[in-house]
C-alpha cells in the first residue's frame, strides 16, 4: 500500500472541506447573545432537499419576524438547522446532535420515516418535536409519543375530505383506482382516501362506489409506463395519485405522452407543491384537484399570510411559495406562543402549554388537539386546469374545508379502526 504523505493528507482534507462547503448544510449561528434555540430537522441534501429548503426558509422567516418584533419575552430566537435527508437514520443523528447542543425544541420533518426515527427519543432526551408535513396516521395513533405534535393535517383528515369533495361534486364518478407509492405515507393516504370514497359516495351521492386495486409504484422510479398502461386498462373513471416531486413529474409527463388524458379528463393528487406543475407546464393533466397545505392567495386577507408571502418573495425572488413554507413558519410560531405563555423553555411546561393551544398562523387559527397533539385547522385544495398560456396551466378554484369536521376521534396509542368507519 502506498504511503499516505502529509501533503496528500492535507490535499484530501482540503478537498473534503471544499466539498462540505459546497454540498453540505452547515449549522448557522444567528446571534451571539443568549437566545432561545429552536432546532430544525429537515432534508437539506439528497432527493428531498427540494422540499426541505422551503421548509427551512419558512422557519427562518418566522424567526426573523419574531426577532424583528422584539423576540419572545425579550429574548431572541435562534434557529439551529440539521440535515435529516428525509430518512429515519439521519433524523436520529441530527436529533441527537441537537440534544447534545442543549436544544430541546425541535421542528421540521417532512417524511414519516424521519418522525418515526426521532419520536421515540423525545421523552428520554426531554425534548419536543413539531413535525411539519409527515401525514401518516400512525404518528398520532399507534406510534404516538407524548412530546410529539403535528402541525399539518393527517392522512385520515385530508384524504377523506378529498374523497368527500368528489362525492359531493362528481356523484357520477363511481369507479376509482389509485397510483400508490410503496411507502408508509402512500399506503396511509390511499387507505384514508379509499375509506372516504366508500363512506361518502353512498352517504352523499346515494351510490355505491367501485374500487379497483391501486397500482403500486416504488419511490424514485425511472419509468412509469407499465403502471400507466395498467391504469388505462382499468375500468376506473378517476384515480388518486400519491407520487410526488420528481416521481410525479415523470409520471404525469409519461402519462401525457401515452394519452392518459383521453381516459381521465379529471384526476386527483395528494399534492407535492408548486415544483410539479411548474415543471410539467402543459403536460399537466387536463384538470387536477390537488391537496395543498397552504395557498398564499387564499390567505392574503390575513396580515400574517401577506407578511409571509412578502418575506418569502424578498428572500427567494420566487413567485410561488411552496406550501411547506407555511408549515415550518407555523411551527416556530407555535413554540413562540407556548414560550410566551410559560415564560420559559422547559419541555414539560411547553408540552402542557401546547396541548389544546389555539394560535394564529398565516393560514388562520390552528389548535393542537389536547389528547393526541394533532393540529386542527383548514384543510385546503386547489384545482389546476391546463391553459393556453406561458405557464401551461392556471389555478381554477381554491377549496377550504374545516378540518374539525373531517377528523377522526383521538386515540393516542391505538391505530385507527377503519372497519368501524
Amino acid at each position: 500500500m502506498a504511503r499516505l504523505s502529509r501533503r496528500r493528507m492535507l490535499q484530501g482534507t482540503g478537498a473534503l472541506a471544499a466539498a462540505s462547503a459546497v454540498g453540505l448544510p452547515m449549522s448557522r449561528s444567528y446571534a451571539q447573545e443568549q437566545t432561545i434555540k429552536i432546532g430544525f430537522l429537515g432534508p437539506l441534501s439528497g432527493g428531498m432537499e427540494v422540499m426541505g429548503r422551503p421548509l427551512l426558509t419558512g422557519a427562518e422567516i418566522a424567526v426573523n419576524q419574531i426577532n424583528k418584533a422584539g423576540g419572545v419575552n425579550g429574548m431572541k430566537l435562534e434557529l439551529v438547522p440539521r440535515d435529516d435527508k428525509g430518512t429515519g437514520k439521519d433524523a436520529v443523528t441530527g436529533a441527537r446532535d441537537l440534544f447534545a447542543s442543549g436544544v430541546n425544541l425541535l421542528c421540521g420533518n417532512i417524511s414519516t420515516a424521519s418522525v418515526l426515527g426521532v419520536s421515540p427519543l423525545l421523552s428520554e432526551a426531554n425534548a419536543t418535536l413539531i413535525s411539519c408535513s409527515a401525514v401518516a396516521d400512525s404518528l398520532t395513533h399507534e406510534d404516538f409519543t407524548p412530546n410529539y405534535f403535528r402541525i399539518c393535517e393527517n392522512a385520515y383528515t385530508k384524504y377523506r375530505a378529498q374523497a368527500r369533495l368528489f362525492a359531493e361534486r362528481h356523484p357520477d364518478m363511481t369507479n376509482w383506482t389509485g397510483v400508490v407509492t410503496d411507502a408508509a405515507n402512500g399506503r396511509s393516504i390511499w387507505t384514508a382516501f379509499e375509506h372516504g370514497l366508500r363512506e361518502f359516495y353512498p352517504a352523499l351521492a346515494n351510490k355505491e362506489v367501485s374500487i379497483t386495486d391501486p397500482v403500486v409504484t416504488k419511490v424514485g422510479a425511472s419509468d412509469f409506463k407499465q403502471q400507466i398502461v395498467r391504469l388505462m386498462s382499468s375500468p376506473a373513471q378517476c384515480f388518486l395519485n400519491t407520487t410526488n416531486g420528481a416521481d410525479a413529474i415523470l409520471f404525469f409527463s409519461q402519462a401525457a405522452s401515452l394519452g392518459l388524458d383521453s381516459k381521465f379528463p379529471l384526476v386527483t393528487d395528494a399534492g407535492s407543491g408548486w415544483g410539479v406543475p411548474l415543471a410539467l407546464k402543459d403536460k399537466i393533466p387536463q384538470s387536477i384537484l390537488t391537496g395543498v397545505f397552504w395557498y398564499y392567495e387564499a390567505y392574503d386577507h390575513l396580515e400574517m399570510g401577506r407578511e409571509l408571502y412578502k418575506d418569502y418573495v424578498d428572500a427567494t425572488g420566487k413567485e410561488f411559495p411552496d406550501d411547506f413554507v407555511e408549515l415550518s413558519h407555523a411551527a416556530v410560531y407555535a413554540y413562540a406562543n407556548a414560550i410566551k405563555a410559560t415564560g420559559n423553555t422547559d419541555t414539560q411546561q411547553i408540552v402542557k402549554a401546547m396541548e389544546g393551544m389555539k394560535f394564529q398562523t398565516a393560514k388562520g387559527e390552528r389548535e393542537f388537539r389536547k389528547e393526541d397533539h394533532q393540529c386542527i385547522g383548514d384543510v385546503t385544495f386547489l384545482t389546476l386546469d391546463r391553459a393556453d398560456n406561458e405557464r401551461g396551466w392556471k389555478v381554477g378554484e381554491f377549496i377550504r374545508v374545516n378540518g374539525r369536521d373531517s377528523m377522526e376521534p383521538p386515540s393516542p396509542g391505538k391505530a385507527i379502526d377503519f372497519s368501524k368507519i
Partner: protein, 291 residues
C-alpha cells in the same frame, strides 16, 4: 394478458438499455483502471444539465438534440480529463480505498456545484417532436422515445464492443488493463491510454445524461435514479466487462419489468433479489474478468 406481457418485455428492454447507457462508462473505467467511480451518476446528471442548458425545455429538432447530447459528452469528457489529472493519476498507485473516498468527495463537490449553477427546481425537457409520438401496434403502446433508447443502447454497445475487441486501439487498451508493466516495456504510453479511458468513460456518462434527459425529471437527484441499477448491472455482468454489463442490463430491465406484472404490490424488490441470487450463484459475474 398477452398484451401486458408483451408491453412488459418491451418496457424491460427500454429500461435495460437505459441502464446500460449509464453502466457502460462505469464498467469501462473499472475494467481498465480498476476504479469504482462513485461519482459516475453525478457526471451522468451533469451531462443532462449541460444538454438542458443548450436545448432549454421545449422540443428541439432531432439534429439539435443529438448535437447537444454530443456536446454534453464533450463537456463531461473534459471534466473526466480534469478528474484524471487532479485525482485519478495521483492515486493510481494508492490503495483503492483512497480512490473510493476521492470519488465520493467528487460526487459531493459536483452535486454542490450543480445546485449552485442550476438550483434545486425540477425541470422537464421535451424530446424532439419526432420522438414524442406513440404508436399503437398490435394492441400495445410503442413510444418512439423508447425505441430510440433501445437503439441508442445497442449502438453504444456495438461501438464499444467493436472498439475494444476489433480495433488496435481497443487491443492496446486491453493490454494496458491486463499487464501495464509489459505494455510499457512494449512502448505503449500507459498514462495516455489510461487518461483516454477515463475521458471516454466520462463522455459516455455525459452522453447517457443527454440521451435519457427527455425521459426523466431533471433535478440534482437524477443520478441516483439510475446509479443503483447501473452498479447492479456492472456487478452481475462481471466487473469491468462491457458485454457482461450489456447482458446484465437487459436481464435486470426484464426482471424489473416482468416483476411489475407478477408482483405488482412489491415494486423494486426484484432487482435486489436478483443481485443476491447472482452474488450467491455466480459471484464473479456473468463474464468474469475485464474485457
Amino acid at each position: 394478458m398477452l398484451l401486458e406481457w408483451s408491453f412488459a418485455i418491451f418496457s424491460g428492454l427500454t429500461l435495460g438499455m437505459a441502464a446500460f447507457l449509464v453502466a457502460a462508462g462505469l464498467t469501462l473505467v473499472f475494467g481498465i483502471l480498476k476504479i469504482l467511480n462513485f461519482a459516475h451518476g453525478t457526471f451522468f446528471m451533469l451531462g443532462a444539465y449541460v444538454t438542458y442548458s443548450i436545448l432549454g425545455t421545449e422540443s428541439a429538432s432531432m439534429a439539435a438534440f443529438l448535437l447537444a447530447t454530443l456536446a454534453a459528452g464533450v463537456v463531461v469528457g473534459g471534466a473526466g480529463w480534469a478528474t484524471d489529472l487532479v485525482i485519478f493519476r495521483r492515486l493510481r498507485d494508492s490503495d483503492y480505498h483512497y480512490t473510493l473516498i476521492a470519488t465520493f468527495a467528487l460526487l459531493l463537490l459536483i452535486t454542490g456545484l450543480v445546485k449552485i449553477i442550476w438550483g434545486l427546481d425540477f425541470r422537464l425537457v421535451r424530446p424532439p417532436e419526432v420522438l414524442e409520438t406513440t404508436w399503437f401496434i398490435g394492441g400495445i403502446f410503442i413510444p418512439a422515445y423508447s425505441v430510440f433508447v433501445i437503439a441508442a443502447g445497442i449502438v453504444v454497445f456495438l461501438i464499444l464492443d467493436f472498439g475494444l475487441q476489433r480495433s488496435w486501439i481497443g487491443k492496446t487498451v486491453q493490454s494496458v488493463a491486463r499487464d501495464p508493466w509489459m505494455a510499457e516495456v512494449l512502448g505503449i504510453n500507459n498514462r495516455v491510454v489510461m487518461t483516454a479511458a477515463v475521458v471516454v468513460s466520462f463522455m459516455l456518462a455525459g452522453i447517457a445524461g443527454g440521451l435519457l434527459l427527455p425521459n426523466q425529471s431533471l433535478s440534482p437527484a437524477l443520478g441516483d435514479v439510475f446509479l443503483l441499477l447501473a452498479f447492479t448491472a456492472v456487478i452481475i455482468g462481471g466487473l469491468g466487462n462491457v458485454r457482461g454489463a450489456f447482458i446484465a442490463s437487459i436481464l435486470l430491465g426484464l426482471i424489473e419489468s416482468v416483476s411489475t406484472v407478477l408482483l405488482p404490490d412489491l415494486p423494486g424488490i426484484s432487482i435486489f433479489v436478483a443481485l443476491i441470487v447472482f452474488i450467491l450463484v455466480r459471484p464473479q459475474g456473468i463474464f468474469s474478468g475485464a474485457q
